[in-house]
């Protein structure tokens, strides 16, 4: 082993990373250019809207109802240390709507949807269905990527909106049944405390996360290697990269929305 090989290894992985960033960026540009140019395949778009939005509702709802409940318990216990138990509704609302609602929705959808997209497109690539699409005069970017990316960008905010409500409900149920809060006051406090900007930021974040989920699913699916192993790796890469990008984007967007 040459003394320089660690340096070579660092160089190699740096080049690798840069090349990948380049490929993703180019894919992003290509996707955007196809989104703005007709035609849009409506049937595929609606099917994806159904799959990404409606069918993700149970998993998102369950995730957020439990999170909301746990959040209420924690804030109550933490608040008790300095006699601030009464802030439970406000903090649950703000924590849920600004952060946990969109982020957890994004992450659950990343697990469910980007994996499914990558596996489907990866299998299509491996079995030459992508080539077949091209020979049938249908652009795979338009037929596969655009409907998924558009559907996810629209469906995930809707999911997050419902998820926010369910999460706040989770906190409400725990606070009212276990912590002795008055139901009417709890809801009034929640509604009074939330501002329009909280909700707008929540939905904008969710839209960005939806875009990331579908883009990563499609990108890794299209890049899939051969065989079952190639598809498996594409699926893993899609979920991991979508999750990490969601958390990174969340940090950036929170900075944009909430730093004075």
């Amino acid at each position: 082993m040459s003394p320089l090989s660690p340096v070579a290894a660092i160089g190699r992985s740096t080049l690798h990373l840069l090349a990948m960033i380049g490929r993703v960026t180019r894919y992003l540009g290509e996707t955007l250019s196809h989104i703005v140019r007709p035609p849009l395949y409506w049937r595929e778009f609606l099917a994806q809207l159904m799959f990404i939005g409606y069918l993700s509702l149970p998993v998102v709802g369950l995730t957020l109802v439990f999170t909301g409940g746990a959040l209420a318990l924690q804030i109550y216990a933490g608040g008790a240390r300095f006699n601030a138990e009464a802030v439970v509704p406000q903090i649950v609302a703000i924590g849920m709507v600004r952060e946990l609602g969109p982020v957890l929705t994004g992450l659950m959808v990343a697990g469910r949807v980007s994996a499914a997209i990558a596996a489907e497109i990866g299998t299509m690539k491996v079995t030459e269905q992508i080539d077949a699409l091209t020979t049938l005069s249908t652009n795979p970017m338009k037929y596969l990527t655009v409907p998924r990316v558009l559907a996810a960008t629209l469906a995930v905010p809707a999911l997050a909106a419902v998820g926010n409500v369910i999460g706040v409900m989770g906190g409400y149920l725990v606070a009212v049944t276990r912590l002795g809060f008055n139901p009417t006051t709890y809801i009034k406090n929640t509604v009074d405390f939330l501002e329009a900007s909280d909700i707008v930021s929540s939905l904008v974040k969710a839209a960005a996360f939806g875009f990331i989920v579908a883009l990563m699913g499609c990108y890794h699916g299209m890049q899939s290697g051969r065989g079952a192993q190639g598809v498996g790796r594409a699926t893993t890469n899609a979920v991991v990269s979508a999750s990490v990008l969601i958390l990174a984007a969340n940090f950036v967007l929170t900075g944009v929305f909430f730093t004075e």
Partner: protein, 252 residues
């Protein structure tokens, strides 16, 4: 007429095509033979623009098609082709008739749904499938039936050029014979130009007007199928006889 002139293509260090020169006359059936991994599929994909050659020219009716055309021009180009893929490459999320009529349901050839379905059923009948297959999904079909559906899809829009990628691979000898015959009939009846790639000698004899032998990234021999058995190329002879002894190394 399709012409390949000195086409090169490498994937990394793997030089797949190293100067392929070949011409296929309009309305004739060319069969390209060669072992697995010799670049037969890559050559077809280069013509279709699915793979871009590193150098060389590909001419369709005298016009270079390697320059990537976009939009309507690319559509018009692709509309001239039909292709039967090795594994069928049917879309599993769509029913059989929607697969066959895929091109007729969207894009420039779009027509009403009922009409597209009628054409699909007609094409299915042409390849020997009953109308009740139309509403099944590809996963519910046997390998032979999938090939037939793939064939029906390839001919659905009446292309002038049809490519067949290993049409008999994975089929039993009788089904292979049936598919070969079907391909021959369809190509003759449509007057289409056909390029088939295969390593199945029974396909060659059933389908070909002309034969080309691809090995080591170049065409070793090309000529009418009738002269194939008397061809003096040792590579060709070894391939025809399926002998383990000869210039082609068995370990690839």
């Amino acid at each position: 007429m399709i012409e390949l002139r000195d086409v090169h293509k490498a994937f990394g260090a793997n030089k797949v095509l190293q100067g392929v020169t070949l011409s296929v006359d309009k309305g004739t059936s060319m069969v390209i033979i060669g072992g697995s991994g010799t670049g037969k599929s890559v050559a077809l994909k280069c013509i279709l623009g699915l793979v871009r050659p590193d150098s060389g020219q590909i001419l369709l009716d005298g016009e270079d098609v390697t320059k990537s055309a976009r939009g309507a021009k690319r559509d018009a180009f692709l509309a001239r082709f039909g292709m039967l893929f090795q594994g069928g490459a049917l879309f599993d999320s769509l029913s059989v008739w929607q697969n066959v009529a895929f091109r007729l349901l969207r894009g420039s050839l779009k027509r009403p749904k009922e009409e597209a379905r009628e054409i699909a059923v007609e094409k299915l009948r042409r390849v020997g499938l009953k109308p009740d297959v139309a509403d099944l999904f590809p996963a519910e079909l046997s390998g032979g039936m999938q090939k037939r559906v793939g064939l029906a899809r390839a001919i659905a829009a009446e292309p002038e050029i049809i490519f067949f990628d290993e049409p008999t691979t994975g089929l039993d000898p009788i089904m292979a014979g049936v598919i070969n015959e079907l391909i021959r009939e369809i190509v003759v009846e449509m007057g289409a130009t056909a390029i088939t790639i295969t390593h199945d000698m029974s396909s060659v004899r059933a389908i070909a007007d002309d034969v080309a032998m691809l090995h080591g990234g170049v065409i070793h021999w090309t000529g009418p199928v009738g002269e194939m058995d008397d061809g003096d190329d040792p590579y060709l002879q070894q391939f025809i006889t399926g002998s383990a002894e000869g210039p082609i190394e068995a370990v690839r």
